[in-house]
Symmetry: C2
Amino acid sequence: MTTSGILSPPDRPEALNWSAENCTLGRAMAVLGEKWTIVVLREVFLGVHRFEDMRVRTGIPRQVLTKRLATLVGHGILRRHPYQVPGERVREEYRLTEKGLDLYPVLAAILAWGDRYLGDPGGPPVVLVHRDCGAAVSVELRCADGHPVSPRATVPRPGPGARPRGADGAGRARGVRGSNGGRRLRRSVR
Amino acid sequence: MTTSGILSPPDRPEALNWSAENCTLGRAMAVLGEKWTIVVLREVFLGVHRFEDMRVRTGIPRQVLTKRLATLVGHGILRRHPYQVPGERVREEYRLTEKGLDLYPVLAAILAWGDRYLGDPGGPPVVLVHRDCGAAVSVELRCADGHPVSPRATVPRPGPGARPRGADGAGRARGVRGSNGGRRLRRSVR
């Protein structure tokens, strides 16, 4: 019995068979999921490495900035690097580690989305360009066979580390699919 | 006077000449910068559209989930869509708008980084594949001329909407660069 104009429910999503407990996106957001954390990383990616410069440019309260920087150092995303202005004491600035540098696509993707939907009429305040050729850089989804892929053409599949959900959860809908069954069904990944 | 073993400070970063006030990455994070917001989006991207399914799979407290969903609907990232299970009342599920779908590269980039640095030894719980060919999908930086670009080969430049910083801030270091001068210097973007 469906009401006219209301679509019938889609098939039960595959994701309901799998645990979200070991989700690496969730874990990544436990590190990054705080506005100021990403803003601090933006500063470092923009070449602003020093506490006082970051503080003045971002307006982040001093204590918050201290804490965010310590967290990022603790996670191995930033490292402290000594520097000395002539005649002053040795200070430390913040530099990206490899782990931090690998966040570039995350920041570039957030920036692109922000530019598209939250920008001023005058256009984006920052553009990313390829140093070698000067052309604008963007973030693309692409498959291992080299095809550009749209979001709608991208499908999530249980990976090698997927954990079937416990019976209490998975049993709520159309019955528990066996752990092997679920995995067998959909492992078309290379 | 620099101490041996300590690198001298790099050139003053270009970013210090520009305001961070209209940064679209900051604005994007004002919408997204909360762990549960991204986790809710993950669920919808995985095909989990219904409140109760999301709640059980993520463990997000009911009130928090209600609030996050309302925020995402308010920002036009999700929309409510009526559905009806036969014999039950009409309910609403949550679907991505175009604005929401355009967040796919953001989530894919976070996921990739999480898989790389925060994964279990068994491998990633979820992999993204190209529906048409089955190959794994990844996020790439690429320039408008078609070159794959590494983070280190990507440089930020002031965009058309860049705002010079006010004299109180910009004047702290090597003096204020005029608004036209700064922009003229670096606009090599196409």
